[in-house]
C-alpha cells in the first residue's frame, strides 16, 4: 500500500500543469450600444469598412452644439481611440462617426462623469 501511495505521489509530482488558453472577452463596440459611460483615458472600439478619411464628432446633447471634432484616416475592421475627458463638459454627449463628406455613419451617447 505504501508503495502505491509513493508511486502516486511521484506521478503527481512529475506532472506538469497544463497551460490552458485564457479566452479574451470580446470587446464591446462603442456604436453597438445606445449609451456608454466613459472615463478619462478609456479606449473605445469601433469598426470601419474603408481606410479613408473619417471624423469623430462630439455634440452636446442639450444644446446640439458641436464641441469637438477629430479628423483621422481609419483602417478597415476594428479601430481603437483613447478618449480624454479632462477638457470635455460633464454630462451627455453624442459621439458621431462621419465619413469624408460629413455624412453621419454611426451615432451613440456617451456620458462624461
Amino acid at each position: 500500500m505504501k508503495k502505491i501511495l509513493f508511486i502516486f505521489v511521484i506521478l503527481l509530482w512529475g506532472c506538469n500543469k497544463l497551460d490552458m488558453p485564457v479566452p479574451t472577452p470580446p470587446v464591446e463596440k462603442i456604436f453597438n450600444v445606445g449609451e456608454s459611460s466613459v472615463t478619462n483615458g478609456q479606449s473605445i472600439y469601433f469598426d470601419l469598412t474603408s481606410n479613408t478619411i473619417h471624423y469623430l464628432t462630439l455634440i452636446d446633447k442639450n444644446t446640439g452644439q458641436v464641441i469637438s471634432r477629430e479628423k483621422f484616416i481609419g483602417q478597415i475592421g476594428e479601430n481603437v481611440r483613447k478618449i480624454y475627458t479632462n477638457s470635455l463638459p460633464k454630462g451627455y454627449l453624442y459621439l458621431v462617426l462621419e465619413d469624408v463628406g460629413k455624412n453621419e455613419l454611426k451615432k451613440t451617447t456617451i456620458i462624461i462623469k
Binding site: I44, N86, S87
Partner: protein, 763 residues
C-alpha cells in the same frame, strides 16, 4: 334631484370636506411679559357633536416661553396633561365649539430669552384607543393583549392608521419615554430595541430610526452612545438568561432587557416625521404660526444672479460691522441654492450694542412735541421737540437716535438743525401718519394743526440699544473657477457695446444712448469705478478681453461683484448711477429691524464689465423704457441672430491643429469669441493664427486650460466675413495617434454692428 343632493351631502359629510385649522398672522411679543394675546387659531368644518382631539404646542420655544388657556370649559386633558397653568404643550379632547372657545383665550407668556415662538395646533376626530404626542405629531396605540417581542414587531408593522404604516414604538428621547409612561396604562412594554444580532450592541430595529445603534455594552451606563437616548434601570441590561429585547415601564419608568418568549404589552407608533407640522395623516388637520419674542431672528436672502451663472458655486457668511471693520459672526459658510436662496438666521449676532440715547415720549401736560406730514425732499417726517425739555439733562441732542412717540412711531431718527426752540429730527420713510394717529389710544393728548400733530407729552431718556450692523458676504468655490466664470461673464459683445456707446454715434450713426438704456449698464461699463464712463474703461475692457491685463486690479469677488437691494438696483438710472451707486462689493449690508418678523432680503447681483447684463440680474421693466440691448435690437432685426462656425481637429505633422471657421450668414459681424478648452496634461498651447478681413483686434489668450480667442472691430472699418478662420496649434505631451476629446469648444459669443449679441451655432 333631491336624492342627488342627499347623496352629495352624505358624500361630503363622509369625506370630511372643509375641515381645517386656520392660524393667525405672525406677531411680535414683548419679552418678559405674561398673558399676551395669542388667539386666532380656529377649527372649522368638523361635526359639531363629534369629540375632537386637539393638540396645542410651542415648538422648541425660547427658554421661559409658555402658553396658557384662560378658558377650558368642556375640555378634558389627555392623559399626562392638565388644563390649568402655564405649559408648552397641551392635548385635549372636546367639541369643536369648546376647543375654539379655549383657543380664543390662548395667551403666551414670554421670558427674557428671545427667539421664535412657534405655536402649532392640530385637530382630528378623536380616535378611540390612540394617543397623540404633540411633540412629534405621532399617534401611539397600546396593545394590552401582549405578544412575544418578535411577534409584537411583526404585528405592529402590519397595522396602518390614518394612512401611515405602524411600527413597534421607538423611544428616542426622554420626552417620548415620558409620553409612553404617562399615557400607556400597562407596565413592562416592549419597544423597538434589541441586541439579538450582536450581544450588548443595542440597536433600534423598527420605524424611521431602524438600524440606529444606541449602546455598545451591557450595564446601566456602560457603552451608552453620546447623543442617543438610554434609560436603563440600575444593573440593566444584563443579558440574564439570554435577554435580547427591551421593555420600558419596568419597575417604574426605566428599561430592562427580557427574553423573547415573554408575552408583554406593546405599543404601535404611527408617524415618521420629527416636526408635527410635517404630519401627513389623512383626516388630520394642523396649522402653525411663527411669532417672535420681541426681536427679529430671521434673515433669509433671495439673490438674483441673472442668467448663466451657477448660484450653487457661491456660499455666504454672516458679518457684523464693529470698530469700522467687517468681520464674520461664525465660520459657518452656507451654500446658496440653485434658486439663489440662503438662510443665515442661525449665524446672526443678536447681542445688542449701545449707541446714542433713546427718547420715550408719553402723555403729559404740555405740547412739547410736533410731527410733520411726510416730506418727499427729506424722505421722512420732521419730528420736533422743544429744546427746553432737555434742560438739565446733560443730553447732547444730536445723540438722540431712537424715539418712541406714544403709540404712533417707534424707531430710529436722524438729527437735523434747529428751528427756533425746536430741535428737529427726521423720522425715515412715510409712516402713514394720519392712520397711525387715528389708531392711537391717546387721542386726548394729540392735536391736529395744519397737517401736523402736536403732542402733550412727558419724556424719559435711556441708552439706545440696537443690533449691530449686519452684512452677508458671498464667496466663490475657488479662484480658478472664479477667473473662468468672470472671463465668461465679460465677453466680446460687452466690449463692443461699450466701444459703440463711447463712439457717441460718430462712427455708426446717431444711436447714442440706445445701448445704455439704464444706469446699471453705465455702472457696469465704468470698470475703473471713478464715476465716469470713458476711453479708459473701454481700454480696460479690451485689455481684459485680449488677455493683456485683468479688468480690475484684483481678480477678487469683492472688486468684481455688486450687490444691491432690489429697490436700490431698480432705482439706478442714467442720471444717478455715477453719484449714488458706484461702489463694488461682494458684501451686502442689511439691518436687523426690531419688531419685524421673517426678514427676507431681495438682492440683485451685477458684475463689473457685464455691459449687456447677459450675466447680471435684469432691472424691473417698470420705469425703464427698454432695459435690454438685445430686446431693442431684436425689434429692428429681421434676420436670425445666429451665425455659424465649423470646428475641426487634426493631427498634422505631430501637432494637434484645431481650426474654427466662421460664417456670418447675413450678419454684419464685428465681434467673435470662443473658448477652446484643452487637456493641459496632454497638450501644450503653441499659437493661434488668424485669417480675418481688414485689421480687427484679434486675440488668443492661453488661460491655462483653455484659450480665449476671437476678433473685435471697434472702429466700423469693416466686418468679419466668411473667410474668418482661427487656427490653434498645440504641441503634444503624449502620442496623438488614436486620441479623442483633447479639445472642446465652449462659451461662445458674437456681436453684430448694431450691438446685438449673436448666438454661434457650432457645426
Amino acid at each position: 334631484m333631491k336624492k342627488l343632493l342627499v347623496i352629495c351631502f352624505l358624500l361630503i359629510s363622509f369625506l370630511g370636506f372643509g375641515q381645517s385649522v386656520s392660524a393667525p398672522d405672525s406677531k411680535s411679543f414683548l419679552p418678559s411679559t405674561s398673558g399676551q394675546d395669542a388667539s386666532g387659531f380656529v377649527l372649522s368644518g368638523f361635526n359639531s357633536t363629534s369629540t375632537l382631539l386637539a393638540s396645542i404646542s410651542l415648538v422648541n420655544p425660547p427658554s421661559g416661553t409658555t402658553f396658557v388657556l384662560n378658558t377650558t370649559t368642556g375640555l378634558t386633558a389627555a392623559s399626562g396633561f392638565i388644563l390649568s397653568g402655564n405649559k408648552t404643550r397641551l392635548v385635549v379632547t372636546g367639541t369643536m365649539a369648546n376647543i375654539n372657545t379655549a383657543l380664543s383665550s390662548l395667551k403666551v407668556n414670554t421670558g427674557s430669552v428671545r427667539g421664535n415662538v412657534v405655536l402649532s395646533v392640530a385637530a382630528t376626530v378623536n380616535p378611540t384607543g390612540y394617543f397623540y404626542n404633540g411633540t412629534n405629531g405621532h399617534f401611539y396605540r397600546p396593545i394590552s393583549t401582549g405578544a412575544t417581542y418578535t411577534n409584537a414587531r411583526t404585528l405592529a408593522s402590519q397595522q396602518t392608521f390614518k394612512g401611515q404604516q405602524g411600527y413597534l414604538v421607538t423611544i428616542t428621547s426622554a420626552d417620548e419615554d415620558a409620553f409612553i409612561f404617562n399615557n400607556v396604562p400597562q407596565n413592562t412594554i416592549w419597544f423597538a430595541l434589541t441586541d439579538e444580532a450582536s450581544e450588548a450592541r443595542w440597536t433600534i430595529d423598527a420605524g424611521p430610526e431602524a438600524g440606529t445603534l444606541i449602546k455598545i455594552n451591557n450595564g446601566q451606563l456602560n457603552g451608552n452612545i453620546p447623543g442617543q437616548y438610554n434609560n436603563w434601570a440600575p444593573g440593566e441590561p444584563n443579558n440574564s438568561g439570554n435577554e435580547d429585547y427591551a421593555v420600558t415601564k419596568w419597575n417604574g419608568s426605566q428599561w430592562n432587557d427580557l427574553p423573547n418568549h415573554f408575552v408583554n404589552p406593546y405599543v404601535i407608533e404611527f408617524g415618521t416625521w420629527t416636526n408635527p407640522d410635517d404630519a401627513t395623516f389623512t383626516e388630520f388637520y394642523t396649522n402653525s404660526v411663527i411669532h417672535s419674542n420681541g426681536e427679529v431672528l430671521t434673515a433669509r436672502f433671495n439673490f438674483d444672479f441673472g442668467g448663466n451663472v451657477d448660484e450653487t458655486k457661491f456660499s455666504a457668511k454672516a458679518n457684523t460691522y464693529v470698530n469700522n471693520l467687517w468681520g464674520t459672526t461664525t465660520n459657518t459658510s452656507r451654500s446658496i441654492s440653485g434658486l439663489g436662496k440662503v438662510d443665515i438666521t442661525n449665524d446672526l449676532d443678536t447681542t445688542k450694542i449701545t449707541d446714542g440715547i433713546r427718547a420715550t415720549i408719553v402723555p403729559g401736560q404740555v405740547e412739547w412735541s410736533l410731527i410733520n406730514p411726510y416730506e418727499t425732499s427729506r424722505n421722512g417726517h420732521r419730528l420736533q421737540i422743544d429744546e427746553r425739555v432737555f434742560s438739565g439733562t446733560g443730553i447732547n441732542l444730536n445723540n438722540i437716535k431712537y424715539v418712541k412717540l406714544f403709540d404712533v412711531y417707534e424707531g430710529p431718527i436722524t438729527p437735523m438743525d434747529f428751528n427756533g426752540w425746536w430741535k428737529q429730527w427726521v423720522v425715515p420713510g412715510d409712516i402713514n401718519l394720519t392712520s397711525k394717529v387715528s389708531a392711537s389710544s391717546f387721542q386726548n393728548n394729540i392735536r391736529l394743526q395744519d397737517g401736523w400733530y402736536a403732542f402733550r407729552a412727558d419724556y424719559s431718556f435711556t441708552p439706545n440699544t440696537m443690533f449691530k450692523q449686519h452684512g452677508i458676504e458671498l464667496s466663490y468655490t475657488n479662484q480658478t473657477d472664479l477667473n473662468t466664470l468672470y472671463n465668461n461673464i465679460v465677453t466680446v459683445s460687452d466690449v463692443f457695446i461699450a466701444f459703440k456707446e463711447l463712439s457717441n454715434g460718430g462712427i455708426f450713426g446717431n444711436q447714442s444712448g440706445l445701448e445704455f438704456t439704464n444706469g446699471i449698464q453705465y455702472m457696469n461699463a465704468d470698470v475703473d469705478g471713478n464715476g465716469v464712463f470713458n476711453e479708459a474703461d473701454t481700454y480696460k475692457l479690451l485689455q481684459h478681453l485680449t488677455g493683456v491685463a485683468p479688468l480690475t486690479q484684483y481678480s477678487a469677488l469683492t472688486y468684481l461683484m455688486k450687490l444691491y437691494s432690489k429697490s436700490e438696483y431698480d432705482a439706478i438710472t442714467k442720471t444717478n448711477w455715477n453719484t449714488q451707486f458706484n461702489s463694488t462689493r461682494s458684501l451686502y449690508p442689511f439691518n436687523l429691524n426690531s419688531g419685524t418678523l421673517n426678514n427676507t432680503y431681495n438682492v440683485n447681483v451685477t458684475w463689473v464689465g457685464d455691459v449687456n447684463l447677459s450675466h447680471s440680474a435684469q432691472q424691473s421693466v417698470s420705469g425703464v423704457a427698454t432695459n435690454s440691448m438685445r430686446t431693442m435690437s431684436l425689434s429692428t432685426q429681421s434676420v436670425s441672430n445666429q451665425i455659424n462656425a465649423y470646428l475641426m481637429g487634426e493631427n498634422v505633422g505631430g501637432k494637434l491643429i484645431v481650426t474654427i471657421s466662421v460664417d456670418p450668414l447675413q450678419q454684419e459681424l464685428v465681434g467673435t469669441q470662443f473658448n477652446l478648452n484643452y487637456d493641459n496634461t496632454s497638450l501644450k498651447f503653441e499659437k493661434v493664427e488668424f485669417t480675418t478681413k481688414g485689421t480687427p483686434t484679434n486675440f488668443g489668450t492661453d488661460r491655462g486650460s483653455y484659450i480665449t480667442l476671437g476678433s473685435l472691430i471697434t472702429d466700423g472699418s469693416t466686418t468679419l466675413d466668411k473667410t474668418t478662420e482661427y487656427k490653434v496649434t498645440f504641441l503634444p505631451l503624449i502620442g496623438l495617434n488614436g486620441t479623442l476629446g483633447l479639445t472642446s469648444v465652449s462659451n461662445t459669443d458674437a456681436v453684430n454692428k448694431n450691438g446685438t449679441q449673436l448666438k454661434i451655432k457650432v457645426n
